[in-house]
């Protein structure tokens, strides 16, 4: 596999860091995740209710984010746990962490100290605001990241409150940037022998993606806002309601008409109804000007039809259309199935479950899902003995001193 032999040590929680190391785990790297029962990863608690017999190992989200990783429990308030962590740093190629900035420094695990153990260490930290600046220690999750970097303000209807996008988007942009940064640092180390420390502020990554938002103001004096599904350059461009399916009256199709040629194709696909033949809709400027009427006409056409029928018909005519796919639809999507986006693993507590992989398919070096996410501390002994080479007696001593909790 692509990253056979690569060794990654991971501290932190949630998705923003852990989904980043997944890219390497899915391509063969050994990823050791350090956690603690003293302060569990918050996604182990997302759906947790007291008395749940599955305890901290019943979180579906944790299991789905952390497949292909090994899990070690280390009680970092114990000095001997810090020794174990330092030995793991000596073993690894890459250290990835997404705590608030003060956490690793508090344990003496800052980059400068760690390079005395491992001179060519690649280390990446990703937190909300980055490792410097007055607000560096401000704790934040994806909800704050999406708000500060501008995504919330740009999502939703002009006359309503800002919305998502669903899933706190900096939590999914950041892991991708983590994978890109670490991959590039590995190439640099391979060519020069040099390690490096990388500081990814999740807000900054989001603002870079939204460069058009910043440049619109700094370059053209235009303050962008949320405009629903509409486009400033094309119409119709939106989600249109389709026929109910059973008791589900929340079925929609997304349609994007990019050009006058597309509009002609859409008219043909609809059987050229009278309203659509109106001259005011023939050019993009007219369609943008009369967009309310345009959307009303199109909705009257889609409303009695099944969403997937509309998608098939429009795509056959070369018009951009897609099902507004809900979570059940996702699992039945034939294209995602063709790409094997969803894979099954069997978790020791949850049982069989699906997880996702990334969106890249390599012609020579395919990814693989090989093992479920770890239960908390599941591989403490394996990692200490087989990777760090501790004797049984040494491991047992540390265990009895409650280092591995």
């Amino acid at each position: 596999m692509l990253f056979d032999g690569l060794k990654i040590l991971e501290f932190g929680g949630g998705a923003a860091g852990p989904l980043g190391t997944r890219y390497f785990a899915d391509h063969g790297a050994t990823v050791v995740r350090v956690e603690s029962r003293q302060r569990p990863d918050f996604i182990r608690l997302l759906r947790y209710t007291p008395g749940d017999p599955a305890g901290l190992d019943g979180s579906h989200m944790f299991a789905m984010v952390n497949v292909n990783k090994l899990g070690v429990a280390l009680n970092m308030s114990h000095p001997k746990a810090i020794d174990v962590a330092r030995r793991l740093v000596g073993w690894c190629d890459v250290l990835a962490e997404n705590f608030a900035p003060k956490a690793l420094a508090k344990w003496g695990l800052d980059y400068a100290s760690l390079t005395t153990i491992k001179p060519d260490l690649i280390m990446i930290s990703t937190c909300l605001n980055g490792q410097s600046g007055p607000d560096r220690n401000y704790p934040g999750f994806g909800g704050q990241g999406s708000a500060i970097s501008g995504f919330n303000h740009l999502t939703g209807w002009a006359d309503r409150e800002p919305l998502g996008p669903f899933g706190t988007i900096t939590d999914s942009l950041s892991p991708r940037l983590v994978a890109l940064l670490v991959g590039s640092a590995l190439l640099h180390r391979k060519r020069t022998g040099q390690g490096q420390y990388l500081d990814l502020a999740q807000v900054e990554g989001g603002v870079v993606c939204l460069s058009e938002n910043i440049l619109s103001l700094s370059g053209a004096g235009e303050l962008l806002g949320r405009i629903g599904n509409r486009s400033r350059h094309a119409a119709p461009h939106g989600a249109f309601q389709c026929a109910a399916e059973g008791d589900d009256d929340d079925r929609w199709v997304a349609i994007a008409v990019q050009s006058d040629e597309d509009w002609q194709a859409l008219r043909r696909a609809m059987g050229d109804p009278m309203w659509a033949a109106e001259e005011r809709f023939a050019g993009v400027e007219g369609r943008l000007q009369h967009v309310d009427d345009l959307e009303k006409g199109l909705t009257e056409w889609t409303r009695p039809r099944l969403a997937l029928d509309v998608v098939g018909l429009l795509q056959q005519h070369g018009v951009e259309a897609g099902l507004v796919s809900n979570f059940a639809d996702q699992l039945n999507d034939p294209q995602l199935a063709h790409r094997q986006h969803f894979r099954q693993v069997e978790h020791r507590v949850i049982g069989k479950h699906l997880c996702e992989t990334n969106a890249m398919r390599f012609s020579l070096t395919p990814e693989s899902i090989r093992q479920p996410a770890p239960c908390l501390g599941e591989h403490s002994e394996h990692v200490c003995r087989d990777i760090l080479g501790m004797t049984a007696a040494e491991y047992e001593t540390l265990r009895s001193e409650e280092v591995f909790v």
Partner: protein
């Protein structure tokens, strides 16, 4: 300034959906050559424009997402243009393109597919970012951002319950897809360092929109939750929680999520409200240490949220965020570009950069490097190229004469 990818040469044939990929690779030090048709990329004609007047050298979206690249023109529909492309490809490490398998603009359709290029450059990497991927039942479908966000499952759960599902007004699938394609290039270059062999990486924009859903589709067999829209909020096991709140002059994000990491922030918010005489008994008398958002009932949430709503409306975004930073309230403003440009945190990190653009006679403020490296090396190195700006230097390096190419209609 050297970067992690200095020395790698990448040919960038992408349309708008892939601009970000080459930009990020250029930030990391790669030499990225943006190849446009002689009449220019269509995005150059999309507004808004610097100065307000339509000008292909002043399109905001072009300027924003093509920084750090060199730019050449090349007519791939002509035989001479394709010959030149093959010469470029022999000296390149990777090619980025955004054509689906049936797209007539794609390299395969133009007769310069990967197998042909690879025959003359065994280590060549081709990374293709397309709406659905290069094979499969929907691979012939067309789809811009709206379609990717819809079919990737991220639109259905975004929005108000009484309206249509909605996307972000800027194309997030191009951002996710652009980063994924950049990862694809870097990973395949790593593979080449080991085996000497280049390969093809096939990225699907529908599929990149999976990760943003944060595992909710794969949880469906357990939860039965299809993603119904709840406005600016989230669902616990028993109740709905608001996450975006109107304040005096805009909106802030704050959620009553529990867990050891969140509860201290809730307590400090109540303290702050109390100092303002705005913390009723339902806030002060609750045992917050035991708070769990999966257990609390909707009427209790409603009572707490009514007090929060009233309080937030009495304060501005700046007041709330300044206090939040001081006391770790886990509250954040739903920023506009204006507020982002005036952020004290981003200023302290010298995030924004003013790029001199003498070729256009302008200096604009850009978002800077997407991350910081202890080696330096990640930076926005130059403004986006003007049309054909680097024809002479890039084609000169191949020993080609620009006047001859021009006369042949190749560039």
């Amino acid at each position: 300034m050297l970067g992690n990818l200095s020395g790698y040469r990448i040919l960038d044939l992408t349309d708008e959906s892939g601009f970000l990929a080459g930009k990020l690779l250029a930030d990391l030090g790669a030499e990225v050559i943006k190849i446009e048709p002689p009449q220019g990329d269509p995005l150059r004609r999309r507004g808004p424009f610097v100065g307000g007047k339509s000008d292909p050298e002043r399109s905001i979206v072009w300027l924003a997402l093509n920084t750090g690249k060199r730019g050449v023109t090349l007519d791939l529909t002509r035989a001479r243009g394709r010959e030149v492309f093959c010469s470029l490809s022999r000296r390149a490490d990777a090619i980025l393109e955004t054509a689906g398998p049936k797209d007539p603009r794609g390299l395969t359709a133009l007769g310069v597919g990967y197998q042909k290029l690879r025959a003359e450059n065994r280590g060549l990497v081709l990374c293709n970012l397309s709406p659905f991927g290069q094979s499969g039942p929907y691979s012939g479908y067309r789809g811009s951002d709206l379609i990717s966000v819809a079919m990737g499952g991220n639109m259905y759960p975004t929005g108000n319950p009484d309206r249509a599902p909605v996307r972000c007004s800027l194309p997030v699938s191009y951002y996710h897809g652009g980063i994924e394609a950049a990862i694809g290039v870097v990973f395949a270059l790593w593979g080449r360092e080991i085996s000497g062999e280049g390969q093809v990486v096939d990225v699907s924009r529908q599929e990149v929109m999976g990760m943003p859903n944060m595992t909710t589709p794969t949880q469906f067999p357990f939860t039965g939750f299809k993603g119904g829209r709840v406005g600016g909020g989230f669902r616990g096991n028993k109740a709905f929680f608001r996450e975006l709140w109107p304040c005096k002059d805009g909106y802030v994000s704050f959620a009553l999520r529990g867990g050891p990491a969140r509860i201290p922030g809730i307590l400090k918010l109540i303290e702050y409200m109390d100092e303002n005489g705005a913390a009723p008994a339902c806030l002060k008398e609750r045992d917050w240490q035991k708070y769990n958002h999966n257990v609390i009932s909707q009427p209790e949430v409603d009572e707490i949220e009514a007090a929060l709503a009233q309080f937030f409306q009495s304060k501005t975004m700046d007041e709330l965020f300044a206090t939040a930073c001081e006391r770790n309230l886990m509250l954040a403003p739903a920023n506009t570009a204006r507020q982002i440009l005036s952020s004290r945190q981003l200023a302290a990190r010298e995030f924004f950069v003013a790029l001199d653009d003498p070729g256009r006679g302008i200096t604009l403020t850009y978002p800077g490097a997407f991350a910081k490296s202890s080696l330096g090396g990640i930076a926005v190195r130059s403004p986006a190229p003007r049309l054909g700006e680097h024809n002479a230097v890039v084609y000169g390096e191949l020993g080609l004469d620009v006047d001859e190419l021009s006369a042949a209609g190749a560039i």
